[in-house]
Symmetry: C2
Subunit: 108 residues, 2 copies
């Protein structure tokens, strides 16, 4: 499959790593704030188990999402752009072809 | 097994229900406070997953612990006394035999 075989130059690797880390930090920071907000609003047992369910889902989600293998990066970035953890402009430095693929996938 | 066959009079049932509910409310209240404290102290991702692990364990623990079947109540109360969610004096009204069993089991 073409996307999986895409090669990454040294400069692209740097751009990718920085964008990846930035998105990750953003999402984690936002998630921690949300968890603290939910915890602060716990008034009954169901709220606590609901926080537990939320954490279970997010943990699974984050563990799967941030996969820094080059063969997956196009898809990873498309998802991060779609979910607004990353702006497409933060990926400037990648080839036009990669940017177009990321943008197209992010709109699916 | 003798303990399992123990019968509960109407008065004993009332004492048991009240003590059971009281211990449950105490433990849940304490747990909610602890979860809020842990959430408030989240500074990095590991703290959040550690809170998730804690909630997983507690949910499993609480689901299993509060079993209001009369055939299990002696064991349930023994555990609650052992864990200090209940004082043996709050079970006054049960037969001396039951109290002695609960106390003995709570010290194991």
């Amino acid at each position: 499959m073409q996307v999986i075989d895409t090669e990454w130059s040294k400069i692209e690797q740097e751009v990718a790593k920085e964008a990846f880390d930035r998105a990750y930090k953003r999402e984690i920071k936002s998630l921690m704030a949300l968890v603290q907000e939910k915890a602060g609003a716990i008034a009954q047992l169901d709220d606590m188990w609901s926080l537990h369910d939320f954490l279970s889902a997010k943990r699974h989600d984050i563990d799967g999402k941030y996969d820094y293998r080059y063969s997956f990066l196009i898809f990873v970035f498309a998802r991060l752009v779609k979910e607004e953890w990353l702006d497409i402009n933060e990926l400037q430095g990648l080839t036009k072809e990669k940017l177009a693929k990321i943008l197209a996938l992010s709109r699916m």
